[in-house]
């Protein structure tokens, strides 16, 4: 008699065998890279776009492209005998604990050579700590919290700027406006309550103090709130010369709608990207954000100075049906920077890739960013990732700061 239990055990065994047979050979013919984003939940769209951006970079590395970008010409990684990169995606649902668990699974089960992620700074925090424990390099594509690279991690690398660099650029810009005769005396901080918002506000509070801007409102709000009416009421009462929001997409949309409903027109807005870098925010409430300035790492009008921008954007758009933005451009670059290092390491060994990442030296012209170059300090931070400020004019972003990258002068104050 065949019992159900026997069938189950036998079935499991057969499945395991089939699984072993199906598993791709893990020889040097491929390098596995783990990619962690929120593919479900409130930030899922960022994850979906990130996947397209990173797959665009993957295509540039694995296939032959006539572009002046690292590893574009020829196929695969010549340093590993033409090996191709294979990506394994994981969904962290914007939850730091799920991020930790997924990173561990990618490292121990999928045997990834390196990790890329994670958008939410709070998740990059736990993922990078896990990567460190296993000695696997983590390339932080798009989390901008400054505390991330100050934890003495040896396997953490961030090619893009962090919020101190971004905020410094924002205050440099305000200083420049003052020098031009604009009266800017007060700022209002409005930030979400996770590590991203809190770190951003800490830096902005400090810079405002140092440079003589009065902080007239300092509002930490609960992210994904059903209503921001009371918060906006306080912003309206304070009526600062510049509103400095640090928000993800949901809150950016709700903030804008609520401001309009309560009849609050901020004199000017200078945003810490994220939600204010997402096109969907402008698709829904763009008319109310005319003249908003956001810090950024990228703008399509960079094409004048970075010849690859147009071609990469076309490749990305074919997949994602939208243009590259602040987030997806950094996600794209993260895989290229990692691939460049793996290629030079000539190995999938964590220590060797780490050493190669440390020695990275990619000139700005071989990126799609306004960066001077990619070269990491001992803390894993690229110190030459110059941020830019972008202004929403009509239906697109225009680079307005610094002068070296600007395509047009900034319109000040904003005219929403």
């Amino acid at each position: 008699m065949i019992r159900r239990r026997d069938l189950l055990v036998g079935g499991a065994g057969a499945l395991a065998l089939a699984g072993a047979g199906l598993r791709p050979a893990r020889a040097a013919d491929e390098v596995v890279v783990g990619v962690l984003y929120a593919m479900s939940g409130a930030s899922a769209q960022v994850g979906v776009d990130a996947r397209h951006a990173i797959e665009t970079a993957l295509d540039i590395v694995n296939a032959d492209h006539a572009l002046d970008l690292p590893l574009a010409k020829g196929t695969g990684l010549p340093g590993l005998g033409g090996a191709k990169i294979r990506l394994v995606f994981a969904d962290h649902q914007a939850d730091p604990q799920k991020g930790r668990a997924e990173a561990e699974r990618l490292i121990t089960q999928d045997k990834v050579a390196a990790l890329v992620g994670c958008y939410q700074s709070a998740v990059s925090n736990t993922v990078s700590a896990t990567a460190e424990r296993y000695g696997v390099p983590f390339v932080c594509a798009d989390s901008s919290s400054p505390s991330l690279h100050r934890r003495n991690l040896k396997f953490f690398f961030r090619p893009a700027a962090h919020d101190e660099m971004f905020s410094a650029a924002m205050f440099d810009f305000l200083d420049a406006q003052r020098a031009k005769g604009q009266t800017i005396g007060s700022v209002a901080l409005f930030f979400e309550d996770t590590i991203y918002g809190v770190d951003s506000a800490n830096v902005q509070r400090k810079l405002a103090g140092e440079r003589g801007y009065k902080v007239v409102a300092d509002i930490k709000y609960k992210t994904n709130s059903p209503s921001l009416t009371a918060e906006v009421q306080q912003l309206k009462t304070a009526n600062a010369d510049v509103l400095l929001p640090t928000s993800y997409t949901t809150d950016a949309i709700l903030l804008t709608k609520t401001m309009a409903e309560l009849g609050y027109k901020p004199k000017s807005m200078l945003a810490q990207a994220a939600g204010f870098a997402e096109k969907v925010t402008y698709d829904t409430v763009g008319d109310k954000l005319q003249g908003l300035i956001s810090r950024g790492s990228f703008s399509l009008d960079l094409a004048a100075k970075r010849p690859s921008v147009g071609a990469v954007n076309a490749l990305y758009k074919a997949r994602a049906a939208r243009d590259l933005n602040d987030n997806s451009s950094r996600q794209f670059m993260a895989l290229l920077v990692l691939a460049d290092a793996v290629n030079r390491a000539g190995s999938t060994d964590g220590q060797k890739i780490r050493a190669a990442l440390s020695a990275t030296d990619i000139p700005g012209a071989q990126t799609i960013m306004p960066w001077k170059r990619v070269a990491f300090g001992p803390d894993g931070q690229n110190t030459e990732a110059d941020p830019v400020l972008l202004q929403w004019v009509g239906d697109k972003f225009v680079t307005v700061f610094p002068d070296s990258a600007a395509v047009a002068p900034a319109l000040w104050p904003m005219k929403a």
């Binding site: 709130s225 009371a230 306080q234 309560l262």
Partner: protein, 292 residues
């Protein structure tokens, strides 16, 4: 704080509170009828918002006009949820409460997943509506028309529900079924039919709320979650199953939330609501209007 600012907080809290009440009442109705907490309530709201968005795109009519259609669609969804899922969960011989909770929870996750698959996780927004972006200013206090309209719809829905429950055979059948499920069968009332209609009615009410919200809120597969939590505390505070309780508690939640955000850092604004709920639990664990 100026009188004007105080009036603004009061007005905003009141308007949001009435909308919270409209979101919560369907949940309370279903619970009162059959002691089932619908954990997919937030997802019903989300579906209603997408339905509004889709119908606006398809018909080019205003959400205000489409509201009855959205409510009808949600009525069908609610009835189908009962007949397709909850009815079977109620047949469990043991741990029936748990089975019901997980069945509706599963339904919630399923609806979220289906929405993300069909509609993508992009944020949507109903554009160019009659009410959208319009604001009534009274002495420096700003009252957004979509919220005023939502508050009026909420009050009308509560009025209509009261009439339905007290003046119609269907209302009496609902009331009788909720009093004694076994006895109603003896007088020829089909329990399953009443439950299905009850679920339909509960979902139709959240359908109205979804159509109202779609005018001034972003639409996203996860949008239900933040409102569902408020709906649960509203129902618990007002008393499980009490329609009047949902109305009063919704307004209280709206006001407490608005005033907490003034007194405490806004990041802690939901603390006030839950602190109040805990205080009510000490005195009246059944909620303000709950029956013992």
């Amino acid at each position: 704080m100026t009188t004007q600012a105080l009036a603004q907080v009061l007005a905003s809290g009141l308007l949001m509170g009435l909308i919270y009440a409209l979101i919560a009442v369907g949940l309370s109705l279903i619970f009162g009828l059959m002691d089932v907490v619908n954990f997919a309530h937030g997802e019903f709201l989300m579906i209603a918002m997408y339905a509004t968005f889709g119908l606006v795109l398809a018909t080019q009519l205003d959400p205000v006009v489409l509201m009855p259609l959205v409510a009808a669609l949600l009525f069908a969804l609610g009835g189908a949820s009962y007949l397709g899922v909850v009815r079977f969960a109620m047949r469990a011989k043991a741990n029936q409460g748990m089975v019901q909770i997980f069945a509706t929870f599963g339904l919630a996750i399923l609806l979220q997943g289906v929405a993300q698959y069909l509609f993508t996780p992009d944020y949507r927004n109903v554009q160019n509506t009659w009410l959208g972006g319009r604001t009534l200013e009274v002495g420096g206090v700003f009252l957004p028309w979509p919220q005023i309209f939502g508050a009026v719809v909420s009050l009308a829905a509560f009025g209509g529900l009261h009439l339905l429950m007290s003046r119609t055979d269907f209302g009496r059948a609902l009331e009788a079924t909720r009093e004694d499920q076994g006895a109603v069968a003896l007088v020829g009332i089909d329990r399953n039919r009443v439950f299905a209609l009850g679920w339909g009615l509960g979902a139709a009410l959240v359908g109205l709320a979804g159509a109202v919200l779609a005018v001034f809120y972003y639409i996203h597969p996860q949008v239900g979650a933040s409102f569902a939590l408020i709906a649960y505390v509203t129902v618990a505070l007002g008393g499980f199953g009490s329609v009047a309780g949902a109305l009063v508690a919704g307004v209280i939640v709206g006001l407490v939330e608005a005033f907490t955000a003034v007194i405490l850092p806004p990041a802690l604004k939901s603390v006030g609501v839950y602190a109040l709920y805990l205080a009510v639990v000490f005195v009246r664990p059944q909620g303000l209007f709950g029956r013992l």
